[in-house]
Structures are given as C-alpha cells and as structure tokens.
Assembly symmetry: C2
Homo-oligomer: 129 residues x 2
Amino acid sequence: MGDKPTPRPTDAELAILRVLWERGPSTVREVHDALSATHDSGYTTVLKLMQIMTDKGLVTRDESQRAHVYSSREGEQKTQRQLLGDLMDRAFGGSPAKLVMQALSASRASAEELNAIRQYLDKMEEEKA
Amino acid sequence: MGDKPTPRPTDAELAILRVLWERGPSTVREVHDALSATHDSGYTTVLKLMQIMTDKGLVTRDESQRAHVYSSREGEQKTQRQLLGDLMDRAFGGSPAKLVMQALSASRASAEELNAIRQYLDKMEEEKA
DNA sequence: GACGAACTACGAAAGATTTCGTTGACCGTA
DNA sequence: TACGGTCAACGAAATCTTTCGTAGTTCGTC
C-alpha cells in the first residue's frame, strides 16, 4: 500500500534496464561497459543515472560490496507491458487491436514470426475457454 | 533530400496531434477547447506548443486567416508506426513478434478483437503470396 | 474613432533529462 | 607508508519539455 507504481523509464534509463535484464544484477562498471558498444556516455553519466533510478524505485541496489550491485526492480516483460499500455493510451485511443495491427503492418514480420503470433493467438483462446 | 524525418513527438505534442487527426485542420482555439475535456493547460500553453511543433515540422500552418489553421504533417497511422518502431527498438530489441505478443498478453483483447487480428494476419499472408 | 474580444508573438521560468568534472574514500601493491 | 587505480557522491551545467504572463495586433461593434 502506498507504494507508487514505478514511473515510466526515460530513454536513457531504459537502455540501462535492458542491460540489467540481459546481464542480471550488475555494477555500474559492467553496465557502462555493456552500453559503450552502442552509446558513448561517460562512466559518471551512467552512475548518476543509476543513482537517480534508485531514487525513483526503478532499480534496487546492494551496497554490501564496494562496487554497488544494481538490479531492475520490475521484470522485463512487466516493463514492456507498461510501456505498451502507455503508448496505447497516448497514441491509439486505448485500442489494443489497433496497436497490434499497426505493429504488424509496420513490422515486415517474417513468415515464422507470423506463425508464432498465430500460435500465440491460439493459445490465448484456449486459455480463455 | 536533406529533409530530416519528423522527430518523435513528446507527450503533450502527441495529445495535440490526436486532436488534429480527429478534427482535421484546426485553430489553436479549437485544439485547446478539445483538449480541455481531458487536460487543463492554458490557451497560451497550447499555442506555444503548436508554434514549437511548427518549427519542428510536426505540423504545418496556414496563416492566411487571422486565426492560423494547423494541420498534422504526418498521418495518424504513419506516426503510430513510427512510435511503435521506436518502442520496438528501445524496449524489444527490435523484435516485432515480441512486441505484438506482449501487446496481446497485456491487452485483455476481446474475442472480436482477437478475430479481427486473426483476419488481419490472414490478409497479410494472402498479400505476401 | 473607441472599446472589448480574440489572436499571435515573445520571453521567461519551472521542471525533467542528460551530461560530466571534481572530490574524497577505499583497496591492493610496491 | 605512499602510489595508482577504482569507486560513489555531489554539484553544476546543458538541453529539452511544459507552463504561462505580458504585450501588441486585428477585428467587429457601438
């Protein structure tokens, strides 16, 4: 009770979360090294962001070692769903079907991907029954 | 050539674009009145945003009347696809299928919506053949 | 022509996001 | 113990986003 839901992560924050989801709990150094493949922000920039994310509740921090170890508070899928729900409200008038169909039309999805989606639909209907 | 792609609209900008898509070309007054149902920003706030959006190229402006008439530069669907593609890259590692499946699982989509999506999949495969 | 309403333009300020330099603490080793 | 490397903390600056007050213009009406 009283726990505010975690805020929507910003662009830079999301890049950090993705590293934490992939690597699991990590130090700032490890996150920075992973990010430097695609981004070129400095070490202290990443550190500062992760401190802010701790304040916001997006990540938790284990301070028992000298190099603090950070973990994402929310799972990857929960965050993805949150971002999608947010976009659905802001850009799609709350309609999930419109969002999905636009995603499909934009996706150039391969035949395998289309099949995976179809199977997923089947599974959803089974479970609904 | 040289035309930069339109930047990703911010939250407040997207709210304005949605009004323009729904109403068609509109004055600041009309947009502000439409927004005041759900937002409570002042008239000059909306005006300033729309001026900025003009500078960014998100909207165009017809100044031939005293009350300028604004139009969205890009269509609703193109903007939606842009936002989805952006989110796909930032949060889903570029995988459209993952995005679609998360959207489905988050959507609580109704049976009709699931059917609409299934039919859409069928149509895509037909066209691909 | 004067008044009031509606409009644009401008600038400033508040808030959020992103950046990074500097400082001081800690740790291992020479 | 001194040195070099690594780290967290802090503050400040740069940028972007959102907000709105004020000023000046235009238009219709009295």
